[in-house]
Each structure stands twice: as structure tokens, then as C-alpha cells.
């Protein structure tokens, strides 16, 4: 599928000399959910800000929908909706007037039905006449999303949309994001909640120190790098592991209370029966067996540490 966003050799150096982005190359397909992961200060917000026109790039090229973000800025910005990280809102305005203002600012005529639809979708309709300053933090974040959707964008940037939002509201927002994806909207989200990326994203990009160190299909990433662990919970803690079990690859964890066997879920096919027979042969009794797949968080932490 043709990319809706195409970034080539993008770099950004601030006036202070800080290199926020280093030679970024990235293509994002139409209709996908792309999660950008990275620690604080990695360059996630700078990357989004450059695409949206808030920060000027130093070098490189960014195309949105086949248009340059500079020469075709009217067209590219018309396609983009941005939910910023901070709660930057006109606090003295009502929800309805703030959302309507954005639509007009983006050059579109009044469309009460559309505004009503997005306010209802975000459970904001009964708050439409409330002043924004009277809303809770979670509701304010919804207003930011409503504003970003007011001009019917084809690409939506969510910069840490669920930071400081409770679990119920977070799930609601994920539903909204899924509904938007079903309507064909491309979504790029940055997040600290790895579970968010794990649950939502089609592809994941990891950015660290201004460099895009990995871009991968989430499933492929999990498969490629996913480690699996076989855990055997022992009845009585062991002081040391019998040599035979060490040779098989077992390690002792949790003060001798758990036997662990790590393997690559994609490439290794461990003979579980043989492993368990070896444990029984060593006269070790156990009460529980479980397996555990490494999460995106483990993969992410592993990558960033490298």
C-alpha cells in the first residue's frame, strides 16, 4: 500500500546544538496504527512536531499524502489531526465552541452533525456547554482528541494520549482509536505504556537518542525477539541446582524456589517431557508449571539498553 507518510533523511538540530533527530527514514502506510516507543527525550515529540509544522526540520524531507510539508503545507496539515502531549486548551471556552473553532481554523464550513458525532463518540456531548476549565483531566484530554478530529483528518497523531488517564478512560480511548482505524484513519501514537502499543499497534518503531533503531511489524517483532520461559515452582527451595539440570539449561531463581528454562519461542522447540523427566529424575518435586512470553516492554527495554 502507498505510504501516507514518507520521511527521508530527516534530522533536527536545535539552536542549542542538541541533535533531537538523526537521519530518520520511515514510511507509514495508509490505515495502519503505528506506535512510536522511546524513553523520555528520545525525539518522539520532535518527530511529530516536525510532521505537523510546529518545529522546523534541519535537513531531510517529509511527505504527507504525496505532498511536501513545506510547499504543500495547506494540504498536508488539512490531512493531519494532532493531539498534543500537554493539556493545551482554551480553558475559558466551552467544549462545543472550542471544537467548532478548530474546524473553522482548518478552513472547513460548519457541520453540526459531525461535531455532535465526535462529541458523542468521546462521551463529551453532555459536557458540550461546560467551560473547559471545569472539566477533569481525563475529560480535557478527550476535548483535545475532539479538537483534533474536528476537521475530519486522515492521519491522527496521538502524543501520549493516555498519560495520566485512568484505566477505564484509557480503554474507552482505545475503542475510539480502533473505530477511527476502521474508518480508514491512519494513527501514529507515542506512548510510555507498552501495553498500549502491544494491544493497539500494527507496527512498532523504537526511537532512542534521536535515532530510529527499529521498525517492525508488532507480531513479527514479538516472534523474532520474543523469548519464552518455562517456570517450575518447587515444593521446597533448592540450595543448588543438580549438574544435570544445569547442563540442560535450567537456572535457579527466586532464592531457589523456581526453576526456569529460557528458550526462543520461534526457533527452539524444547522437549518439555524430557525436561520434566530430568527434574523428576533429580527427585525434585514441584507444585506448578507455567510458561511466560516476553512482552513488548521487555523487548523495548532490551533494545534501548543496547
Amino acid at each position: 500500500m502507498a505510504p501516507i507518510i514518507s520521511i527521508s533523511n530527516l534530522s533536527k538540530t536545535y539552536a542549542t546544538g542538541f541533535k533531537a533527530l538523526k537521519n530518520i527514514n520511515l514510511e507509514i502506510s495508509k490505515g495502519e496504527i503505528f506506535a512510536l516507543l522511546g524513553p523520555n527525550g528520545a525525539g518522539k515529540t520532535t518527530l511529530i512536531s516536525v510532521i505537523c509544522g510546529i518545529v522546523t526540520k534541519s535537513t531531510g524531507q517529509v511527505m504527507v499524502g504525496g505532498q511536501s510539508i513545506e510547499s504543500g503545507y495547506r494540504k498536508t496539515r488539512q490531512m493531519i489531526g494532532l493531539v498534543p502531549q500537554e493539556l493545551h486548551l482554551p480553558i475559558f471556552d466551552t467544549v462545543l465552541s472550542a471544537v467548532s473553532f478548530t474546524r473553522h481554523l482548518f478552513g472547513l464550513p460548519r457541520n453540526d452533525a459531525h461535531i455532535e458525532k465526535i462529541l458523542k463518540q468521546l462521551s463529551l456531548w453532555d459536557k458540550k456547554d461546560s467551560k473547559i476549565m471545569a472539566l477533569s483531566g481525563g475529560m480535557k484530554r478527550r476535548v483535545l482528541i475532539a479538537k483534533a478530529l474536528a476537521h475530519e483528518p486522515r492521519v491522527l497523531f496521538l502524543d501520549e494520549p493516555t498519560a495520566g488517564v485512568d484505566v477505564a478512560l484509557r480503554k474507552d480511548m482505545w475503542n475510539v482509536v480502533r473505530a477511527l482505524r476502521d474508518e480508514g484513519v491512519t494513527i501514529i501514537l507515542t506512548t510510555h505504556y507498552i501495553e498500549e502499543a502491544e494491544e493497539m499497534a500494527d507496527r512498532v518503531g523504537v526511537i532512542s537518542n534521536g535515532e530510529l533503531i527499529l521498525v517492525e511489524e508488532k507480531k513479527a517483532l514479538m516472534e523474532k525477539m520474543g523469548q519464552k520461559q518455562l517456570n517450575i515452582l518447587l515444593d521446597t527451595p533448592l540450595a543448588a541446582l543438580p549438574k544435570k539440570l544445569t547442563q540442560l539449561g535450567f537456572v535457579l531463581e527466586q532464592s531457589g524456589q523456581r526453576l526456569c528454562y529460557n528458550y526462543d519461542s520461534k526457533h527452539d522447540k524444547p522437549d518439555v517431557a524430557k525436561l520434566l523427566a530430568a527434574v523428576a529424575g533429580a527427585k525434585i518435586s514441584y507444585s506448578d508449571i507455567s510458561t511466560q512470553q516476553s512482552s513488548l516492554e521487555d523487548i523495548f527495554l532490551g533494545l534501548v539498553k543496547q
Partner: protein, 253 residues
């Protein structure tokens, strides 16, 4: 051209003015009445006429200019500073709107508000003194040009300022003294020659002169010079705003 976007900014800024409509109208009316009491009745009673015009009537254009300059600067500077302060500027920067359209919205609204206040002061003046406007077209021309020029200047201050106190520094330390020393309440012809020469370096002299000429056909400098100088100030402010948007100064990093 994103007319809707420019109008949305204009409308939003005007709403702010109308939200506090009583404050917006009462404040200039009270100031006008006070000026008439102090300068018109108390001091003016000792001054018979200037250039054949009663002192009370003579100060009307100056009073309007005084309010126009102050209001244009404060409206425009606050208009653009507040989104920067609250962070909502991101929305303007990420919208498909050009620098020209943004200026049209912000500066247009600031100028419109100050013109309205100028007209309210003019209407109030009619209650106290016999005001005549000999050249209504030129009166409106000077009113609009001055409002737009100083709204542009206010816009620059609003972009330059990085704190609320800085918003006040230029109006308080530069514009108000220049306005009071710019012949708002007197003709600079009454000054000693040296101070007359110094006054010609004060841009407000030209604005007040041109504006007063449109009322009574009396002025310290000719209409065309006043018009030319107003145009020069406007071009200087436009150049400043162009530079800001070109370089992204205080707007983009």
C-alpha cells in the same frame, strides 16, 4: 486562501471583547469624561483657543489617538501572547493557515476593537464639546491606518514578550510617554524651538497631526507628511512581522 481560518481567529478575538462589553465601553467613556474634566474644564478654562479652536474640541483627536494606540497595542499583544502562554499556539501552527491569514485574524480584530473604542470616545466627546469633522474620509483613513499599524506593533510585542510584565514594558515606557509628548493635548508649536525639533522625531506627532487635520484643518505637519510617515511606520511593522514568520522567531524552534 483560508478565509474561514482567518475569520475564525477574528471572530474568536472579537468575542473576547464582547464578553466584557460593559468593561470595554465604560472604561473608555470614563477616561474621556475625566480628560474633559481635567484638561477641558479645569485647565482648558484658562486656555482660550488653539489655532482658533476651543481647547476642549482641540484635544478630542489627541484623546482618540491616545486610546487608539494603547488599545491597539494591548489588544494585539495580548491576543497573540495568550495562546503562546497557554500553549494553544500549537493549533495555529499546525493549521493550514498562512502567516498573512493569521495576521489578518489577530491584527484585524485588535484594530477593529480599538477603532470601535475610538468611535465611542468620539461619540462621548460630542456630549461635551462642539466637534466638527471637516474631512470624514481622511479621519477614517488615519483612524484605520493608525489602528492597523499599532496593532501590528502590538502583535510584535506579543511575540517578543516572554512574560506578562514584558507585555507592559513597551506600552508603559515608550508608547505612553511618546503619546503624551506627541501633541495629544497641545500643539507642538507652543514648545520652544529646540523641543519642537525634538518632537519631530516622535512618530506620534505625525499621527496626531494628521488626525487633527481631518477634524479642523489645523496641524503641526502637513497631511501628506503625516500620511507618509504613518505609511512608513506601517511598513516597518509589516517588515518586522514578516521577519518573525520567516524565521519562526518565538513561534517555532
Amino acid at each position: 486562501m483560508n478565509w474561514r481560518g482567518a475569520f475564525a481567529i477574528f471572530e474568536y478575538e472579537m468575542k473576547r471583547f464582547f464578553r466584557t462589553i460593559m468593561q470595554s465601553i465604560i472604561s473608555p467613556v470614563i477616561s474621556t469624561v475625566l480628560y474633559f474634566v481635567v484638561f477641558g474644564a479645569a485647565i482648558g478654562s484658562r486656555i482660550s483657543q488653539i489655532d482658533g479652536i476651543s481647547y476642549g474640541a482641540f484635544i478630542v483627536p489627541g484623546m482618540i489617538m491616545l486610546a487608539l494606540l494603547g488599545q491597539s497595542i494591548s489588544n494585539a499583544s495580548f491576543g497573540i501572547y495568550f495562546p503562546r502562554f497557554s500553549g494553544t499556539i500549537y493549533e495555529y501552527l499546525s493549521a493550514p493557515i498562512s502567516a498573512f491569514e493569521m495576521i489578518l485574524g489577530f491584527v484585524g480584530a485588535a484594530a477593529a476593537k480599538s477603532i470601535l473604542i475610538g468611535l465611542i470616545i468620539l461619540a462621548t466627546s460630542y456630549l461635551f464639546v462642539p466637534v466638527t469633522i471637516m474631512h470624514p474620509f481622511w479621519m477614517i483613513t488615519f483612524l484605520v491606518l493608525t489602528a492597523v499599524t499599532f496593532s501590528l506593533f502590538g502583535f510584535i510585542i506579543g511575540l517578543w514578550a516572554d512574560g506578562f510584565e514584558k507585555l507592559q514594558i513597551i506600552p508603559l515606557l515608550v508608547v505612553t510617554p511618546l503619546t503624551f509628548l506627541g501633541g495629544s493635548f497641545y500643539s507642538i508649536k507652543v514648545l520652544p524651538p529646540f523641543w519642537q525639533t525634538v518632537s519631530y522625531f516622535n512618530p506620534v506627532v505625525y499621527l496626531v497631526s494628521g488626525f487633527r487635520w481631518s477634524f479642523y484643518e489645523v496641524s503641526d505637519v502637513s497631511r501628506n507628511i503625516a500620511l507618509g510617515m504613518t505609511g512608513v511606520f506601517m511598513l516597518a511593522c509589516l517588515a518586522g512581522v514578516w521577519w518573525i514568520f520567516h524565521t519562526g522567531y518565538r513561534l517555532k524552534t
